[in-house]
C-alpha cells in the first residue's frame, strides 16, 4: 500500500511542470503570470499535503505556510498585472518578444 502522499505530490509536481512550461513557452506576459500562479499553487498543494500527513499536524505549521503563501501570491498577482497594464500602455503590446529594449 503506497502512501497517500505520493498521489498528491505527483499531482503537485505535474501542475508545477505545466506552469513552468507555460511561463517559459508563451509569448503573452499575462500567460507567463498565469504559469507563475500555477507554480505557486502547486507549491501550496505540497505544503498542505505534507502538513496533513506529517508527524505533528496539530501545530498547523504547513497550513500557516500555505495561508501566508496564498496572501503573498495575491500581492504578486496584483503587482504583476499592474505592471503588464502599464507596459501595454507604454509599448502597445504584451508580447514579450517585442519587449527587447531597456530604454523607454
Amino acid at each position: 500500500m503506497a502512501s497517500p502522499l505520493v498521489g498528491y505530490l505527483l499531482v503537485a509536481a505535474l501542475i508545477f511542470a505545466i506552469g513552468l512550461a507555460g511561463a517559459l513557452t508563451r509569448r503573452n506576459a499575462i500567460m507567463v503570470l498565469i504559469g507563475i500562479e500555477l507554480m505557486l499553487n502547486a507549491a501550496n498543494l505540497n505544503l498542505i499535503a505534507f502538513w496533513r500527513y506529517g508527524p505533528h499536524p496539530e501545530t498547523l505549521t504547513g497550513m500557516m505556510f500555505a495561508i501566508f503563501s496564498i496572501a503573498v501570491a495575491a500581492a504578486e498577482a496584483a503587482v504583476g498585472l499592474g505592471l503588464v497594464i502599464s507596459i501595454y500602455r507604454h509599448a502597445r503590446t504584451t508580447d514579450l518578444e517585442q519587449m527587447n529594449r531597456m530604454k523607454g
Binding site: 503506497a2 502512501s3 497517500p4 502522499l5 505520493v6 498521489g7 498528491y8 505530490l9 499531482v11 509536481a13 505535474l14 501542475i15 508545477f16 511542470a17 505545466i18 513552468l20 512550461a21 507555460g22 511561463a23 517559459l24 513557452t25 508563451r26 509569448r27 503573452n28 499575462i30 500567460m31 498565469i34 500562479e37 500555477l38 499553487n41 501550496n44 498543494l45 498542505i48 502538513w51 496533513r52 500527513y53 508527524p55 499536524p57 496539530e58 498547523l60 497550513m63 500557516m64 500555505a66 495561508i67 496564498i70 496572501a71 503573498v72 501570491a73 495575491a74 500581492a75 504578486e76 498577482a77 496584483a78 503587482v79 498585472l81 499592474g82 497594464i85 502599464s86 501595454y88 504584451t94
Partner: protein, 166 residues
C-alpha cells in the same frame, strides 16, 4: 486512493493544461479558474477546510477576475499573427519535462519512506485564529504591510499618467 481523488486531480491537471494550451486568453483564464477550483477541492480532501475556502475566495474569486480584467484592458483577446508560443518553445518544454522527471523520480524513490495514512487532525478555525494572533502575529503583520504596499503599488503603476502623455 479513491475515485474522487482521481476525478479532482484530473480537473486540476486538465484545467492547468487547458490554461497553458488554449490560444484565446479569455478561455485560458476560465480554464485557470477550473484548475484553481480543482486545487481547492484537493485542499478540502486534505482536511484543510480553511485553506480550501481561502483558495476559492482568493483565487477563484479575486485572482481570476484580476486576470480577466488585465486581458480585457490589454486587448489580449485578439489572437496575435505570429502565434501564441515563443520561438524558443522547445527549450522551455524540455526544461519543464526535465523538472517534472526529476521531481517524479524523487517522489517515487521516496515512496516507501513516506508516512502512511493517519486520522484526520482535529483542527478548527478557532485554533487557526489563535495561532495567527499568537505565535504567528508578526508574520501576519508583515503580510498586512506587504499587501497594503502591493495594492498601493499596483494602483500607482497601473494608474494613467496624464502629464506624461501630453
Amino acid at each position: 486512493m479513491e475515485v474522487a481523488f482521481y476525478l479532482i486531480s484530473a480537473l486540476a491537471v486538465g484545467g492547468a493544461l487547458a490554461a497553458i494550451l488554449l490560444k484565446n486568453l479569455v478561455h485560458a483564464a476560465l480554464a485557470l479558474t477550473l484548475a484553481f477550483l480543482g486545487l481547492a477541492f484537493l485542499f478540502l480532501r486534505l482536511d484543510a477546510q480553511f485553506a480550501g475556502f481561502a483558495q476559492i475566495l482568493i483565487y477563484v474569486g479575486a485572482v481570476a477576475i484580476l486576470v480577466v480584467f488585465a486581458i480585457l484592458l490589454t486587448r489580449g483577446s485578439e489572437l496575435p499573427k505570429e502565434g501564441v508560443f515563443s520561438k524558443t518553445w522547445l527549450v522551455g518544454l524540455v526544461i519543464a519535462a526535465g523538472v517534472f522527471a526529476i521531481l517524479g523520480w524523487a517522489i517515487l524513490q521516496a515512496g516507501p519512506w513516506l508516512p502512511q495514512a493517519t486520522a484526520a487532525p482535529a483542527v478548527t478555525v478557532n485554533d487557526i485564529g489563535n495561532l495567527l494572533m499568537g505565535r504567528y502575529v508578526l508574520p501576519l503583520e508583515i503580510v498586512a504591510v506587504l499587501l497594503t504596499a502591493a495594492m498601493l503599488g499596483a494602483v500607482i503603476v497601473a494608474m494613467h499618467e496624464k502629464e506624461k502623455t501630453k
